[in-house]
Every structure is written in structure tokens, then in C-alpha cells.
């Protein structure tokens, strides 16, 4: 059994330190699509155990509603990651994020540990999803294999901090330094049919720069973005929300393709444009985005 929400909407993934109760207790009020409880970089080495207990009790007790709860575990080169997975699965997390992923083998190892934990704690096997963060040149080059490595895999995130350093560059406003890695990871994700998320934007004073980067993310075809502050959420949701014209167009396309398909017609024209089944997922995604923004209440969202 694989989680029915594998392809759910994930415009924003908000990072929260699992060591800080003040961050974890009520972050759902900011309405991110997902939260990422961080056991890795945000937690000091001496507090890894305490963070796992906080994580476990938060997962068990705090009602996050529709907000998806993902856990960033420690790297596979640490003594922590297996216990991180046990605590996450026992608590009922919806997903695990693998940091600094460089190979398909890492995904295979994490999936095996998740399955063992699901069996140990009586969770439905296959319920816990996986995503991988690509943070190195080797990870970028292996992105395709990583995206196709596991049946729980729902997406990959590109992580710019370490990657820019490894590429001997830094953040530039136009994003040219990240164009190739972003493009390569996007291509790998699309070829494998999984989602793709862009890196965090760390300068909270530069909201114009943030807006510009999110706009570029949307134009490149990303599904969403990792965010580090609740103030960033509304901007991402606004930019990823379709226009009224796009919504009307998508509604007509979905309706027409389904009607024609029901009559056995595969290719047809609508307003002079050729349409076939290949247009359906994109149009359905526009409606799902509109629905999430409260702009569409119809019944065409799958």
C-alpha cells in the first residue's frame, strides 16, 4: 500500500527545529502545505536524543490538521538516522527527508529501515513516504537514479547552501549560478514522475529577492519551495496561485478531455488548439492549486 497523498499539493515546506518547542507547538496556524521537523542541522549533537523525544510527542499529540508532517533525519553517515526513523514512524510522520543524498542506494537503505519500523510499531507498511535532498554535485549527477530508487519516493529538493559552495560560487540575484543544477534535478524528477522543490532563501530582509526567486521557481516548473520563516509562506502561495483566466481555461480543458475520452476520442481541438490526454495532468494541477487558494470549488480536482 502506498500513501494516497503521494502527489498532494506541496507549495511550501516549512522547516522547524525539533529541538525548539516554541517552533513546533503551533506552526500549523501559518498554513504551510507541509512542515519539516528538523533533526539534522538545527539540532546540536548533544541534543539529538532530546529532539527525538520532542518530535515523537509532537507527532503523537499536536493536531496539524491537513498539514503534512515530514521529518528531516540525520545523514546516513551518522549514528542517528536509524533511531530518527524509528521515532518518526512510531510517532506517525507522513514522510522522511533524506539529507545530502548522493545515491540510489541511500534511498534503498532508508526505505528498508522505514519498512522495519512500520512493522515494529504496527503502522501500515508503505504508509510513510520518502523525499531526498540533493545538496552536492554528485547528488545532482545521480538525481535520476535517486528519483527512481524507491516506491515511497514522492519528490526531491535541491538544497543550495552546500551546493553553491561545492560549485565555487554563491547566491546571485538572477540565479544563473543555480540554473544548471535546478534544471538537471527538475528533469530527473519529471522523468521519474516525482515532485521537485527548490532550496530555501535565507535572507529574510530581502523579500523582493525572495519574490523574484519564487517567480523563477514557478516559471521553471517547480512544485514548491522549502521555507524557513512563516513570513515567506503567503508569497509562495500567492505566486503559485493560478490567475482567473488560467483557472477557467483549465476547467474547460479538463471537462473537454474527460468528455471526449468517455466517447473514445483521444485527440480533438478546443478553440482551435489541439488537445489530448497529455494536457490533463497540467490542467488538473492548475485546478488543485486554485482549490488550495480557495479560488475553485468545483468537482474536477481528482
Amino acid at each position: 500500500m502506498i500513501h494516497p497523498d503521494k502527489n498532494r499539493l506541496r507549495r511550501t515546506m516549512l522547516f522547524l527545529s525539533a529541538q525548539r518547542p516554541s517552533q513546533m507547538k503551533d506552526a500549523y496556524i501559518y498554513r504551510p502545505d507541509s512542515v519539516i521537523f528538523d533533526l539534522e542541522d538545527a539540532v546540536a549533537e548533544s541534543e539529538k536524543d532530546a529532539a527525538r523525544f520532542s518530535l515523537f510527542h509532537t507527532l503523537k499529540t499536536v493536531d496539524y490538521g491537513d498539514c503534512e508532517r515530514i521529518v528531516r533525519i540525520n545523514g546516513l553517515d551518522t549514528p542517528h538516522w536509524r533511531e530518527d526513523i524509528r521515532a518518526s514512524v512510531a510517532g506517525g510522520a507522513e514522510g522522511i527527508r533524506i539529507p545530502k543524498c548522493e545515491s540510489a542506494q541511500e534511498v534503498v537503505e532508508v526505505e528498508a529501515a522505514i519498512e522495519a519500523a512500520e512493522e515494529e510499531f504496527g503502522r501500515p507498511v508503505g504508509r510513510t513516504l520518502v523525499m531526498a535532498a540533493i545538496e552536492s554535485p554528485r547528488g545532482v549527477l545521480n538525481a535520476s537514479a535517486i528519483c527512481e530508487a524507491g516506491r515511497r519516493m514522492f519528490g526531491v529538493a535541491i538544497s543550495g547552501g552546500d551546493l553553491r559552495k561545492a560549485m565555487q560560487t554563491r547566491y546571485y540575484p538572477k540565479g544563473e549560478e543555480m540554473l544548471v543544477p535546478r534544471g538537471m534535478v527538475l528533469l530527473a524528477a519529471r522523468a521519474a514522475g516525482v515532485q521537485c522543490f527548490d532550496t530555501v532563501f535565507t535572507d529574510l530582509e530581502d523579500m523582493e529577492g525572495f519574490r523574484r526567486e519564487v517567480q523563477q521557481n514557478k516559471e521553471m516548473g517547480f512544485d514548491g519551495k522549502s521555507v524557513i520563516n512563516p513570513r515567506q509562506i503567503a508569497i509562495v502561495h500567492e505566486i503559485f496561485t493560478p490567475t482567473e483566466r488560467e483557472i477557467i481555461e483549465a476547467e474547460r480543458v479538463v471537462r473537454a478531455i474527460r468528455e471526449q475520452a468517455a466517447e473514445g476520442v483521444g485527440v480533438f481541438t478546443l478553440d482551435g488548439k489541439m488537445l489530448d490526454m497529455a494536457f490533463l495532468p497540467g490542467a488538473e494541477r492548475v485546478l488543485a492549486l486554485a482549490q488550495a487558494a480557495g479560488l475553485y470549488e468545483g468537482d474536477l480536482v481528482p
Binding site: 525548539r20 518547542p21 516554541s22 507547538k25 539529538k48 536524543d49 532530546a50 527525538r52 523525544f53 520532542s54 515523537f56 510527542h57 509532537t58 503523537k60 499529540t61 499536536v62 549514528p79 536509524r82 533511531e83 524509528r86 521515532a87 512510531a90 510517532g91 515494529e120 510499531f121 504496527g122
Partner: protein, 104 residues
Amino acid sequence: MKIEVAAMAGTLESSDVQITIEPAEQGLSLSISSSVLGQYGRQIKRVVLDTLEGLGVRHGRVTVVDKGALDCTIRARVTCAVYRSAGITHSIPWGEVPVNDPSR
């Protein structure tokens, strides 16, 4: 579980609670300080004692410095302190860790 050595968990940040647990010969003794003691003192005491009972801790001296923590945070810090006292950080029996009972 038996409290063999003193252990601490949690911080003095807002929304957190710092728990110190020390060995004692007979029974449990509890010292609580909180900015919301008048309003939540009994609740904090109940959650701490309930968590200790769930972990099978019968003897110990517990010091609680509360900074407005949720019940689940109190449970997390108490449980962490008890496991630290036992020197256990991995292979936690998560299925047996006492959690909040929503019916109470």
C-alpha cells in the same frame, strides 16, 4: 525504570521546560517553579507524575522549571531525562513511551 544518576533535559526558553531528575531512597518528590504556577501548577504536576508512572519510575527527586510548556513538551522532557539517567539514547521502545491521553 530506576533513576541511577542525575540527568537533565530541556531548556529555559519560552514554551520549554527544564527537568532535572536525581536518585532518591524512598518515593517521588517534586519541586515545580513556573510563571503560570497558580493556573497550571496542578496540571504540570499531574503530567509529570503520570509520565513517571508510565515509565515505571517510583523513586526520585524531580525539579521542574516551566516556561509555559505544552503537556506534550513536559512529557518529552521528563521521558528524555529518565532515559538519559539510564544512559539510553538509542533503541528506545517508542511503542511503550507514555503519551498524552486525549480522554483526560
